[in-house]
Amino acid sequence: MAEAQKPEYWRWLETNWVNPDVNWKDAQFITAGIDVGSVSSQAVIMADGKVYAYGNMRTGSDSPDSARNALKFALERTDMPEAAIHYCIGTGYGRVNVPMADRSVTEIACHARGANFMYGNKVRTVLDVGGQDIKAIRCDDKGKVTNFLMNDKCAAGTGRGMEVFADMLSVHIGDVGDRSFQIDSEPISVSSTCVVYAKSEATNLLRKGLSTNEVLAAYCAAMADRIFSLLERVGIEPEFAITGGMAKNKGVIGRLKKKIGLEPMKTEWDTQLAGGIGGALFGLALCQKGRGRGK
């Protein structure tokens, strides 16, 4: 069966970046954090605690390959060889499968640490909405985890759920947020928790005459409800920051913000990098304690 090439609406932009102000040759310690998530993988390279380069791409079917590709992608625009890295931390869902990692650290710890770097030490509550899980993390001023709650069993409220919806409604994932606000009045949110049932509910809504934008709004609102209930259980203490890919979705975050009544902190960094940055910082701390693998 020759299947017509369907546009991949869920496909988000893969990016890499190099910091022009940092010269890796001057650095005492170069550390890397490789976050192999269920949907995306990031490699962050830090030189003495400054972000030098990163690569952010989609996770493939094979974790070691995804880790290698992400690191290669991060180094692509630099003149730094992979061997220059002093210490490498693997984190995320596929952390035990990062072949170049000297050590693995859980993604909870890395996200708290990374958020502390990205948003400053005032952050106390970190919400990470990833591809296949949601984590609500409470941390102290050093980025140390004090409490956390996690949903990794169910696609409701995760990035994967949003991808499924974007695909079904033929809307590019990057446009979901904006389009969900192009409506006359806010519709009732989708009531089904399960993404499978939410899909049939959305089909019903479309048949009832709701526009695609309204259905997107109804789903964004449902997602905000889901995320909020998790946050509520761990308790929200300001300052509050959101990491992960969903932080880029204005449709969900805008609605979540209204429910919490708290403005999330802003950062110049790509929100998907929190895990990788946290990993690289853990690596740096180990090197500074003299527990790195040495030059």
């Binding site: 079917s61 696609a155 399960c194 499978v196």
Partner: protein, 293 residues
Amino acid sequence: MTSSWRVRTEETQSVSVGKTTRPIQIRPRPEGGLHMITAGIDCGAKNTKTVILKDGKIIGRGSVLTGFDQAQAVKESLEMALKNAGVKQDQIERVGGTGSGAKSIKEADVTVNNIKAIAAAANYFFPNSRTVADVGAEEARAAKVNEKGNVVDFAINDKCAAGAGAFIEAMSRALETPLEELGPLALSSSNAIQLNAQCAIFAESEVVGLIHAKIAKKDISKAIHDAIASRIVSMIRRIGVHPDVVLFGGVAHNPGFVGALQRELGLEKVYIPELPEYAAATGAAAVAAQNGR
């Protein structure tokens, strides 16, 4: 008649539904009890089924896709069943309605919930049964039944596709294998691999990953059926497994699921009636024959 239901008379019977006990009134049985023609309509998430009972015997069945217009589906399935039974609508003395779309059954003289319907059906098909599970397209239920066919305890999953027929459907899409072939395929495997994901959405990606890892289709199929069976069994365990166990619902047609369920329950046999998807409708028809509105 304002609060007559509060008075516990011989005609009032207590039905325990979950944690609440709610008395329902039983009117004196019509002349002859079951000796009448009744219809039971089960308006489900996917299909609407009708069963015609005459003197306690099934004489006709009808099933149509529910689609978006539930009332229309109810009408069509009733017409189909009447035609199948060779009776006219005015010969039907009572109609019982059930299912997630029970509100759309205007023809119903008595409406019962799913749990009561499957309990009555379990009693109708297998009077010795004490545990009944019903696995439908979007819901799964289990009920503990006493010897009269009354509900003692129950559990429902209507929130998550991972514990309903929709799970196997989604997996058959991911595996690009027709639903009918998936069950027999599972029986041909003896390799135990496990699906880690619970969510149907995540399991879909996991199945694609297993295909890429060159795992045999039959082994993946077995893993799929084991996964859903373990979730159904954990639901049944919440109310306790008391033999004999009866299985209803369209998913009971799937030999892969039935095999996995028996294995998981540690039972030699679970009892399945002929055409298990009509069970709730049969239960509703039986209830209609027993009590009035």
